[in-house]
Amino acid sequence: MTALASGIERREKVNRPAVRVPAERLLEVAARLRDDPALAFDMLVDHAAIDWHAENRFELFYHLFSTAHGHALTLTAFVPRDAPVVPTVSRIWPVAEWQEREAYDLMGILYDEHPDLRRLFLEDDWQGFPLRKDYRDPDMLEFQK
């Protein structure tokens, strides 16, 4: 347990149990969370990203749920804004394949080893990532302050 815990801290200011994981250890921790029978987080309920523009980084969150035990956990990981690359968890929770595509499409997070990384809602030739705080669409005047 000590080996697992290194580098993992509690993520403060979340209204449910939450831990912050170094991005490079995400896969290892995720696999353990799913496979350990005492934890058994078999469902990835939600995954998306937050653009902390002032801090120059993105925060990814993964809301997990265990249908066996009924408990929940939120994992978060920071990635730098200029190189937002993170390993895909779609081999652990298949639904991540599409949740990650949404995060790529709208926030521009790049998922390493993703089986099918494509735009999801927007067209393939769309420029930019609309949910980023510095996104400017020339046609959308109401978003320009």
């Binding site: 209204n15 078999d42 939600d46 009924g70 978060t76 690359v85 494509r118 067209e123 393939d124 978003f143």
Partner: protein
């Protein structure tokens, strides 16, 4: 590094494949985005071998309105008015999910009257949503009459909502700290009359459609979703329960006044289209049961605990809240920046978005006509996928 961003064209027309396209028997057909069985604008690219489905590639996004981006510019109270445009058949439950998350984050208390009314209107809407689903399923599979019956039942419930809320489809009623208006004086009486009318109708559905041999042939053993796959694919709601997982937030982490109501959570055994059909029919009976228990015991009290002009303060942090809509778990992640009167980031975990992808696995190996049965029993509402 192996991050490789693809386009849809790379899949449908991979480079080099054009020369041999005539030699192969596999071909792509578009179902949608405009198609009578697609309940909204959803495009399914289907790779076919003869009539057998080899692969389904959903292409959502035709109803993407950027609701999450818009939300970053709206105050905590204004947010509610976007939620009814996601899953429009669960408008009140969507209102509730956001209102409840804001209430938990801001520490707003409600009272028993508010929670009871919320539970009643949510169950009425679940009933209404399933009635529409049942009618549309019949129409999808070639039986037009159920569609008219489903809308007939929907109509009487819409009238209850219209009296109290003033709207029939895009309803904004539940807001942080309470309800927008108190219930109509006739609410309880009318609801009881409607329930008495609806009860035998659910049994009529059985004689009209459920017992039909064509329907059974088209649903039984089609699109089997085992429990483990349903969980891995993030399915929730009736889809997950039909696979035999008794996961219903109304029981697992009760909200509203569900804890004091008696009801059963129907589960399927196999996870085929027929199980998904039966689970929803039974859920309609359970919704009636819940409303019947509550309708005579609506406590007295004010319909809101927050003054209309009062500013809601949500402390900094990530706030997650979820409720069970007619289609599954609607999760709301609110990231509050502290002082601002609007969310820094808002994310909807919509039940349809996550249920949709089951179609890629369920339809494989079946015929084109089975995609329709599978999609219909997944009960997708497309604006909720695209947001």
């Amino acid at each position: 590094m192996t991050v490789n961003v693809k386009t849809l064209n790379d899949i449908i027309a991979p480079p080099g494949a054009a020369a041999s396209a005539l030699a192969t028997e596999e071909y792509f057909v578009n179902m949608g985005p405009q198609h009578p069985i697609a309940h909204g604008s959803l495009r399914l690219v289907v790779r076919l071998d003869g009539e057998t489905v080899r692969e389904v590639i959903p292409v959502p996004g035709f109803v993407h309105r950027g609701i999450e981006k818009m939300a970053e510019h709206l105050s905590w109270r204004q947010l509610i008015h976007l939620t009814d445009r996601t899953d429009y058949l669960s408008a009140l439950m969507n209102n509730w999910a956001v209102a409840r998350t804001i209430e938990q984050a801001a520490g707003l208390a409600t009272n028993d009257r508010i929670e009871t009314v919320r539970t009643i209107v949510a169950e009425l809407q679940r009933l209404q949503s399933h009635a529409l689903w049942w009618g549309v399923l019949g129409m999808d599979l070639g039986a037009f009459t159920p569609f008219l019956y489903g809308f007939r039942e929907r109509e009487v419930i819409s009238e209850i909502f219209e009296d109290t809320i003033g709207a029939r489809l895009t309803m904004n009623y539940i807001q942080p700290g309470g309800l927008m208006y108190d219930i109509h004086p006739d609410f309880a009486q009318k609801t009881k009359r409607v329930l008495a009318y609806l009860k035998p109708k659910i049994d009529e559905y059985g004689t009209l459609l459920s017992g039909n041999v064509i329907l059974q042939e088209r649903l039984r053993n089609i699109g089997v979703l085992p429990a483990a796959r349903a969980i891995a694919l993030g399915c929730t709601g009736p889809v997950l329960r039909a696979s035999g997982v008794p996961c219903d937030l109304r029981k697992v982490e009760p909200y509203g006044v569900y804890a004091s109501a008696e009801f059963d959570v129907p589960v399927g055994s196999k996870g085929d289209c027929w199980d998904r059909y039966c689970v929803r029919i039974e859920e309609m009976r359970q919704s009636i049961r819940i409303v019947e228990q509550l309708i005579d015991h609506i406590p007295e009290g004010p319909h809101t605990t927050v003054k209309f002009g009062a500013r809601i303060k949500v402390p900094e942090g990530i706030h997650y809240g979820q409720i069970e809509t007619a289609r599954g778990i609607l999760g709301v992640t609110i990231v509050a920046g502290g002082k601002a009167d609007a969310p820094y980031r808002l994310h909807f975990r919509s039940p349809n978005f996550n249920n949709l992808w089951a179609v890629t696995e369920l339809a494989r190996g079946w015929r084109i006509a089975d995609i329709i049965a599978i999609q219909s029993t997944l009960d997708l509402v497309v604006p909720d996928i695209d947001r």
